[in-house]
């Protein structure tokens, strides 16, 4: 017998994995460059959500999970102890922050490339952009 919390968590995890698979398919096999960019953003967002979920300390009771924010500006030792006990793991969130920033740069670069390619080739179909072969 599983409770609602576990059920939702598992569904969430499974849907992320399916999302990763679908967006990987999109970015590798769809011929349109625009659709590739869309799939790529979906792919990196799914990866980021995976990181966030892993930082969510699943094995604790639902009441003992809180965001990693210190409410008291000058915390006492007790505050810090309770904080360490209830806060979710902040490290994956830091990782995600880095990944989002990098993802933005890459997406911008790809959009620029797509625009410039469209000017030269007159198409955004990958199958027709194949001058370099052999």
């Amino acid at each position: 017998m599983i409770d609602a919390f576990t059920f939702l968590f598992t569904t969430c995890m499974l849907s992320i994995i399916v999302n990763l698979g679908i967006s990987l398919y999109g970015v590798l096999y769809r011929p349109s460059l625009i659709k590739k960019i869309i799939s790529l953003t979906i792919f990196s967002d799914s990866a980021n959500i995976t990181a966030i979920i892993i930082g969510y300390v699943r094995w604790r009771n639902p009441g003992e999970i809180a965001p990693p924010v210190l409410l008291n500006p000058s915390p006492t030792l007790e505050d810090i102890e309770t904080f360490a006990k209830v806060a979710v793991d902040p490290l994956p969130q830091a990782l995600v922050l880095t990944a989002i920033v990098i993802g933005l740069a890459v997406t911008l670069f790809l959009v620029f490339l797509t625009l410039q390619m469209y000017r030269f080739y007159g198409t955004t179909d990958v199958r027709r952009i194949a001058k370099l072969r052999g």
Binding site: L28, Y29, V126, R127, I129, A130, R133, G134
Partner: protein, 119 residues
């Protein structure tokens, strides 16, 4: 150290290398030797080793001639496969080969997981 202490494998290596070079030279000589048409009829056409006559207008032998002379007949099928199946230049075709390699890695991982659950 390793190089001077093991003369046996060094000599095998050098002789194999020499053998390969000799084979290579043989191939080059064989390919560049003028061929006589075996048909035997009295045609007045100039025979250019199967090349199109317009190569005579070139000032010298093109470097691609080396490739075609040696390789064209013997490796035709290999090259057709390599160029038309693998290196097509279309990104989607690359993705098939790349994901195949990823899937092999993941498949091996799943098999290893099964093995470790048996242990």
């Amino acid at each position: 150290m390793l190089i001077v202490s093991d003369p046996v494998s060094a000599s095998i290596f050098i002789s194999l290398m020499m053998l390969c070079l000799t084979l290579l030279l043989y191939l080059v000589v064989k390919a560049l030797k003028p061929k006589h048409s075996g048909s035997g009829d009295e045609s007045r056409e100039m025979y250019l080793g199967g090349e199109h006559p317009n190569i005579l207008s070139k000032p010298h032998v093109l470097q691609s001639g080396l490739y075609w002379a040696i390789v064209f007949r013997d490796f035709k099928r290999v090259y057709r496969g390599l160029v038309e199946k693998v290196h097509t230049g279309i990104a989607i075709d690359w993705a098939y080969y790349m994901t195949a390699w990823l899937l092999i890695l993941l498949l091996l991982a799943i098999i290893a997981l099964g093995v470790s659950s048996l242990i």
